[in-house]
């Protein structure tokens, strides 16, 4: 084994601890069925689907869970003629 590599290493355990803390904090909340981010995700999509017909394939949802805050990015492609189909969309809310 290369000694230089051995000495130049930084300990990895702190990183492991930090990652686990963030993850477990989120999971413990989620198990109480009150995962805020998931709820927001579903409700945001539901609200938009009420006004615009959403193509399920053109929706990307990205999440980044952090220790202090989480970010949720919902990227929805709204087709040019989407508003014309507003009436249909009202009946077809399952896109979320």
């Amino acid at each position: 084994m290369n000694l230089l590599r051995l000495f130049s290493r930084t300990p990895t355990a702190p990183s492991a601890r930090e990652r686990l803390q963030v993850l477990l904090a989120h999971e413990r909340v989620a198990f109480g069925d009150s995962d805020l981010v998931s709820k927001l995700r579903d409700e945001i999509l539901a609200v938009i689907a009420r006004h615009v017909q959403i193509d399920g394939d053109k929706v990307t949802v990205k999440m980044e869970r952090g220790a202090q805050m989480s970010t949720l990015a919902v990227d929805i492609e709204i087709p040019f003629d989407a508003t014309k189909k507003k009436l249909d969309a009202a009946k077809n809310k399952k896109a979320a």
Binding site: T12, R19, D57, V59, T60, K62, E64
Partner: protein
């Protein structure tokens, strides 16, 4: 059409998830398009080992239940852009995996990726049999230790009977990946020898991964070991295993020894 690989073992804790992540990353680092699918519903860990645990929105069960599109559930690796992860659900029960749902997902992935790597849960129950069901090739992860070898033998029996290939009367291609191999213990004679394991299981050898702190460090950091430190011994062993998987004929070096194995020699006798 991509190849579907199941990484399985029967016994838990032998290194299935580590190996799925490392082989998946190694194949992707060579430019192939790879997706690693976590089948361990209820106890997902692949996302942690691949460092994507904070980015999971949807999972395999959501896709199977029609709550999300496959493309929405796939998480692209931040380091290698041809590497994707399909996480398992942490909150649902494994009964949510239906055979039809799994089939649809695998068939769709096969069309879009060069490699579909299915990380099987431990055991021989539903999750494990569903993970292996659609595989073209199986990687049996084994530690040089009696209980692991016996469980692997049991899994090989299932691969030869419970998979679509077996039911169609075809032969499932199987490879042995020997993990957590400790040269010091081998030297002392306190570990099953490579030859013994090969003789007992009689399937060709894909690689020998040495027991190493580097593997632990990589999982602490949330990176497959081939990405965390591509030069360390286990990473090199995984890179070589990935090349053999892709069809190259490379001798398998035994850690701490001068000799090597030619997988194909054992391949002839393989079941």
């Amino acid at each position: 059409m991509g190849k579907v690989i199941v990484v399985t073992s029967g016994k838990g804790g032998v290194g299935k998830t580590t190996s799925s992540a490392a082989l998946g990353a190694a194949l992707a680092q060579n430019g192939d398009k790879v997706v690693v699918v976590d089948f361990d519903v209820g106890l997902r860990n692949l996302d942690l080992v691949m460092g994507a645990e904070r980015r999971v929105v949807y999972d395999l069960v959501n896709v199977i239940q029609g709550e999300a599109k496959l493309t929405q559930a796939l998480i692209r690796d931040k380091r290698v852009e041809t590497l994707y992860l399909l996480p398992a659900s942490q909150t649902r029960d494994k009964d949510n995996l239906t055979p039809e749902g799994v089939e649809t997902v695998i068939n769709t992935l096969k069309k879009a990726f060069d490699w579909v790597i299915c990380d099987s849960p431990a055991g021989i129950e539903r999750g494990a049999t569903l993970a292996m069901r659609h595989a073209d090739v199986a990687i049996v992860v084994t530690n040089p230790e009696v209980s692991s070898v016996r469980d692997s033998d049991r899994i090989i029996g299932l691969l030869d009977s419970k998979t679509l290939k077996a039911e169609n009367g075809e032969r499932m291609e199987k490879h042995l990946l020997l993990t957590r191999y400790d040269p010091a213990r081998a030297e002392r004679g306190d570990m099953l020898k490579v030859d013994d394991v090969l003789e007992i299981l009689s399937i060709p050898l894909l690689g020998i991964i040495p027991e190493s702190m580097d593997v632990l460090r990589a999982s602490n950091l949330g990176a497959p070991v081939t990405l965390a430190d591509g030069k360390c011994a286990p990473a090199v062993a995984y890179f070589n295993a990935a090349r053999r998987l892709a069809g190259e004929e490379l001798p398998v070096a035994v850690p701490g020894e001068k000799r090597s194995f030619f997988g194909k020699i054992f391949g002839r006798k393989a079941a």
